[in-house]
């Protein structure tokens, strides 16, 4: 057994030596791929969405070679800090708790409203059972609101919980919910008032990666300045979305 492990280690050590030199660093962009319109997998199996467009444009402006990587939401921060990819661009709101572990660029999506969606009118979202995705700002908000929180690993499951009656309502980003409500032919509806949450969506980076963060920050500033970011926001989120 020991020999096998040593053998594998030796193999792993020598593999890739040949590529050690050569062209510049590729920046690996980590995303979830399950949160339209921010990021999702399109019919061809590629990562698509608002963040794909923004990310590609940012990389072009910062003159970086970028590659897209999928990772599930639960382990998206641990895999960033252990170096499996270099950025998180996954609709992640800037919060103080996350800022202690990783760094954020300035926001490329203005602070958003979250909203409650239920299967029937008149649900009391302050005392009922409310679904939210694990480790999101919405889950944190529900936990403190007095409602009973049920958490799910993916956004899809939070909606399914409302449809099958497991939860009275779901709290999520309004932009994620709008297409689902529109196409549910009346089965789902917005209830209560929108809740302003979080400090906008930014790109997450390792705290030790200050240089890369400055590059992306500058690129975001230039996209805000010439209006390309607004164009993309309207393309993916519609005319009535907030712009810069």
């Amino acid at each position: 057994m020991k020999k096998l492990i040593l053998g594998t280690a030796a193999l792993a050590l020598t593999a890739g030596l040949a590529w050690a030199d050569g062209h510049g660093k590729t920046v690996r962009m980590g995303t979830e791929g399950a949160y339209p319109p921010y990021n999702f997998i399109n019919d061809n199996g590629e990562i698509d969405g608002f963040e794909r467009d923004v990310g590609d444009e940012l990389c072009a402006r910062a003159k970086l070679t970028c590659e897209w990587v999928k990772n599930d939401w639960d382990s998206i921060i641990p895999n960033l800090v252990s170096g499996n990819y270099d950025t998180i661009i996954a609709g992640m709101s800037i919060t103080d708790e996350r800022d202690e572990v990783i760094d954020f660029t300035q926001d490329y999506f203005p602070p958003t409203a979250s909203a409650y969606v239920a299967a029937a009118d008149g649900v009391d979202v302050m005392s009922g059972v409310v679904a939210a995705q694990t480790a999101t700002i919405q889950a944190g908000y529900v936990a403190e609101s007095g409602a009973t929180l049920v958490e799910f690993a993916t956004p899809e499951e939070t909606i399914a919980a409302v449809r099958n009656g497991e939860a009275d309502a779901v709290l999520a980003d309004r932009d994620y919910l709008v297409p689902l409500v529109e196409e549910s032919s009346g089965a789902l509806m917005f209830v209560g008032d929108p809740v302003p949450l979080g400090g906008g969506v930014g790109m997450g980076l390792r705290e030790s990666d200050g240089e890369l963060r400055d590059k992306f920050d500058a690129a975001i500033t230039s996209m805000k300045a010439d209006g390309t970011l607004n164009t993309l926001l309207i393309k993916w989120f519609g005319e009535e979305t907030q712009t810069y």
């Binding site: 096998l4 050590l13 890739g16 590529w19 660093k25 339209p36 199996g45 990587v69 689902l180």
Partner: protein, 294 residues
């Protein structure tokens, strides 16, 4: 894939499904079946190898070797799989990178651990930051194979250890009486006869291994359960040409059929192996076979 797929809204049911089931995401779904089968094909023999070495070590006459074998079995069997899968893979990856870091970048002065961050020099990254995505995925896949093999190897070691003890003592005594050495007795008498005792335990492990493949997603490999969940989820017409409701039930039903079919085939094959191994053995099964033939 087909020429008529450019506008799915106009198609009939059959045409729509033929386009839907052959689009790019579904190809990734089908590919994940190959991944799972490949994982099983590689992991099973490697785990059996680990198990054999573990069993040999734990019955060794050399004390430290025995401790190693027993320790391996006890520790890996005792730790919950999910904790092992979450912790071990990141640790293994960081161990490889740290070792490479020590060898390749002796002049590097910054600490490897900075707060939460694990930082090695760019040359030590595994795979390198510049390598294409498929290399990252292959590397992840091999980390998964090593992890699966280590976990299932410990269980296999325990099964084989028991099987080696189950071989009737007179068989070994006879071998010794013929003047065989310790090594000869082990390879010529003990090992060929132990498989019949080991097979029921090993076949259990094989079945559990088949069903444990969804743990792959914990290791960052996109397996069939991940894709079934992803593809079955509600799709709205804004983001796909093939909108549909929550179809996860159908996708999971398909997985159910796949897993049941696969385990059934395994059962049939294992039954045949059992018949073959029982032949001529001093067990109740072997005796029954002899009587039936006579």
């Amino acid at each position: 894939m087909f020429s008529y797929c450019s506008d799915p809204d106009t198609l009939g049911t059959f045409g729509w499904f033929s386009c839907y089931l052959s689009n790019g995401v579904h190809m990734s779904f089908y590919l994940s079946f190959v991944k799972v089968l490949l994982l099983l094909a590689i992991t099973a023999p490697v785990a059996l190898g680990f198990g054999f070495l573990g069993a040999m070590a734990s019955r060794s006459r050399v004390l430290p070797l025995r401790w190693l074998g027993k320790g391996y079995i006890a520790i890996v069997r005792g730790v919950p799989d999910i904790a092992f899968f979450l912790f071990f893979v990141i640790a293994l990856d960081q161990m490889f990178e740290w070792t490479r870091h020590q060898i390749l970048c002796p002049d590097w002065t910054d600490p490897v651990r900075q707060g939460n961050d694990f930082l090695v020099c760019p040359q030590a990254k595994l795979p390198l930051g510049t390598s294409p995505e498929w290399m990252h995925e292959t590397y992840g896949f091999f980390l998964a194979v090593i992890t699966f093999a280590l976990v299932f190897g410990a269980f296999a070691a325990n099964v084989l250890f028991g099987a080696m003890r189950a071989v009737p003592r007179p068989q070994l005594e006879t071998a010794e009486a013929y003047g065989m050495s310790h090594r000869q007795t082990f390879w010529r008498i003990l090992v060929p006869q132990m498989w019949v005792y080991a097979l029921p335990g090993l076949s259990n492990l094989w079945m559990v291994l088949i069903k444990a493949t969804p743990l792959l997603f914990l290791l960052g490999v996109e397996d069939i359960v991940y894709w079934a969940r992803e593809l079955g989820g509600t799709k709205t017409s804004r983001f796909t040409s093939y909108p549909h409701g929550d179809w996860r039930m159908w996708y999971f039903l398909f997985l159910l059929v796949f897993y049941l079919g696969f385990t059934r085939i395994s059962e049939i094959v294992l039954d045949r192996i059992m018949k073959r191994l029982t032949f001529g053995q001093a067990t109740a099964g072997g005796e029954a076979q002899r009587k039936a033939a006579a």
